[in-house]
């Protein structure tokens, strides 16, 4: 039997919670041995999608196969092939690292000797060999997370689901987690992860599915998504912030999207398609209007901007703790 091209296939997946339609028909295909990121604003349906594919929730409509098994009819078979890492670490603080892995090994009904061999191999792989016999409550946050990933890897699953794996982790721990995920993918595991962090999606994912209001609205590699929203991004850096509205108006004439103003940085940005025309028109008209410009630059859009254009809202990103208006309006997720 040749390996199928897609490890996760979802078609028209629907889910209702009481009267709210959480998923309105999610279509998703994840290639074997790749990392796919589900990206979307809060309440878009990312976590619900993962919980359906993990067999934690039953779908109300549509179908999906994970590792060749139907999530509704063959839930238990699906569970032998997947690993789930939720938003919280679920390892037991009182047990040692090795005991935690042994616990899961025994729940997978590996023999005692095999469970032990497996536990030791994974502790080594995730750099926890030294800490194997220490209680987890003495572990650092990053070590706990790695142990969590190791536990979900007991049965060498074909598919690993990560629901916001690095939320609440400091940057060093985040890169530890990324490295672990990468090394698993190198060994052939397929990973589906949800994240708020665009830099995480950019660094880790081969493909991104943007989820909004219970549907996948677009998919593609980070690069594809960036070029899909059209060419380049123009940044205008002004000398005086009071000229921003005027500059934005001029920029709007050549831009293919709504200009975005950042008053603190005295900057206004917008996407353009024809860069040369845009630049010459901008230079001429800004001068005619008497707007003092310090710098004009052209660059590729960030994933952030892609996201904003696609969903009309901006997810929080790691560096962006410094008070983004839109985040404040949306409220901090629970």
């Amino acid at each position: 039997m040749s390996a199928p091209e897609f490890t996760i296939v979802a078609e028209g997946l629907r889910k209702n919670f009481k009267k709210t339609e959480a998923l309105k028909g999610v279509d998703l295909k994840v290639r074997a041995g790749t990392v796919c990121g589900l990206l979307g604003p809060n309440g878009a349906g990312k976590t619900t999608t993962v919980r359906l594919l993990c067999t934690l929730l039953r779908p109300d409509g549509g179908r999906a196969e994970v590792a060749g098994h139907d999530i509704a009819r063959e839930a238990r078979q699906v569970r032998t092939r997947i690993g789930l890492i939720g938003q919280n670490t679920t390892t037991d603080h009182v047990l040692t690292g090795r005991q935690n892995l042994m616990l899961f090994g025994r729940l997978y009904h590996l023999g005692k000797r095999q469970a032990l061999r497996r536990a030791d191999a994974l502790l080594e792989q995730f750099g926890l060999g030294e800490a194997a016999d220490r209680q987890v409550k003495h572990y650092s946050g990053g070590m706990r997370r790695r142990l969590d990933i190791a536990a979900s890897f007991i049965a060498a699953p074909d598919v690993l689901f990560l629901d916001e794996p690095t939320t609440g982790q400091d940057p060093r721990h985040r890169s530890e987690v990324w490295r672990s995920v990468r090394s698993l993918v190198d060994q052939g595991t397929t990973v589906l992860l949800t994240t708020h962090f665009l830099d995480e999606a950019d660094q880790l994912c081969d493909d991104i599915a943007v989820v909004d209001q219970g549907q996948v609205i677009t998919t593609g590699s980070p690069e594809q998504l960036k070029s899909r929203i059209g060419g380049d991004q123009v940044d205008l850096l002004l000398r005086h912030a009071h000229a921003l509205p005027q500059a934005a108006k001029i920029l709007a004439r050549v831009a293919t999207g709504e200009p975005e103003t950042v008053p603190e940085a005295r900057r206004v940005s917008a996407p353009v398609t024809d860069r040369l025309t845009a630049l010459s028109v901008l230079a001429r008209e800004l001068e005619a209007a008497g707007v003092a410009v310090e710098d004009i630059s052209l660059r590729r859009p960030t994933l952030d901007e892609v996201f904003l254009r696609l969903t009309g809202s901006r997810p929080k990103s790691a560096q962006e703790a410094e008070g983004d208006d839109e985040i404040l309006e949306e409220g901090v997720p629970a």
Partner: protein, 286 residues
């Protein structure tokens, strides 16, 4: 971090992890999983002595408080030693208080995603719940053992035959089983450890308005009815009879048929809360 390939065929468990297909192998998985989950909870006993100590301290304190501080002012209806009267009440109290432990543990696991983690692996789903139940039962047995020792120290004796004493313990554990289902139901309902703490609050009055500490005959009329209807009272009277302890001479139908009611009440509670707990657990998938 060194990356050794843990997926090499020599040790790749992917193909080894199978799902049980026959009813017998399903049952075997359920039994194993129950035991593994229960062990996880029992390790906490071994590994966190402080928690265990405070858990055991409570019954001891109750013996001291009610046996000696309040006990000197208490009289037993129809005569008899108050501490002999008290001990069966304390046995039942420890059993009733167990609901708080169940709720907290269930809510902790549900809130922290442990329950979801268990549900995402091919283990038996019965095992997740039954393991909790088994662990709680064992915890209660240990609590009872400590309390029995305390009782023996302060002069309590089981006057009945060995068989009667065992029957008394069995009735107490029967009450505990019914309470496990209340605990699992409430734990899945509240889902957070903070909310679970609220469950402890009404426990004490519920335990007090019974025949555990004072005979209902000495209470005002309406309160007597409530105290006698308290399922805990039936178990207390039944264990007093079986242990041959004083204070069993109630005149109401309920206290005259305490042995029967000590079986009927837990059965009734289980009949109500077992389906509710299962429904709640299933609802996690909806």
């Amino acid at each position: 971090m060194t990356v050794t390939d843990v997926r090499t065929p020599r040790d790749a468990p992917t193909r080894i992890v199978a799902v049980p297909r026959t009813p017998l192998s399903r049952l075997r998985w359920a039994v194993t999983d129950t035991w593994v989950v229960a062990q996880r909870d029992l390790v906490h006993w071994v590994r966190s002595p402080a928690q265990v100590f405070s858990g055991l301290l409570f019954p001891g304190m109750m013996v001291l408080l009610f046996g000696y501080v309040f006990g000197s002012a208490m009289t037993v209806e129809n005569g008899g030693d108050y501490r002999e009267f008290l001990m069966p009440g304390l046995f039942a109290l420890v059993i009733i208080m167990g609901v708080g432990e169940t709720v907290t543990a269930v809510a902790d696991d549900a809130g922290a995603g442990v329950t979801d983690r268990f549900r995402s692996i091919p283990m038996s789903r019965v095992g997740v719940v039954a393991g909790r139940c088994l662990a709680d039962m064992m915890n209660s047995v240990m609590g009872l053992c400590v309390l029995v020792l305390c009782g023996l120290v302060v002069g309590w004796r089981a006057g009945g035959s060995l068989l009667e004493s065992l029957a008394a313990v069995a009735l107490l554990l029967l009450l505990r089983i019914s309470i496990v289902w209340i605990g699992i139901y409430l734990g899945l309902l509240v889902k957070t450890p903070e909310a679970a703490a609220a469950v402890w609050t009404p426990l004490f009055p519920i335990a007090m308005i019974s025949n555990a500490f004072v005979s209902p005959e000495q209470m005002p009329g309406w309160l007597r009815v409530v105290a006698e209807l308290n399922p805990m009272s039936a178990t207390v009277t039944a264990t007093r009879e079986l242990f041959d302890n004083p204070g069993t001479g109630g005149t109401s139908w309920l206290s005259e048929n305490a042995l029967l009611m000590a079986v009927v009440w837990p059965a009734l509670v289980t009949a109500i809360f077992f389906p509710l707990a299962v429904h709640r657990y299933r609802k996690m998938s909806r």
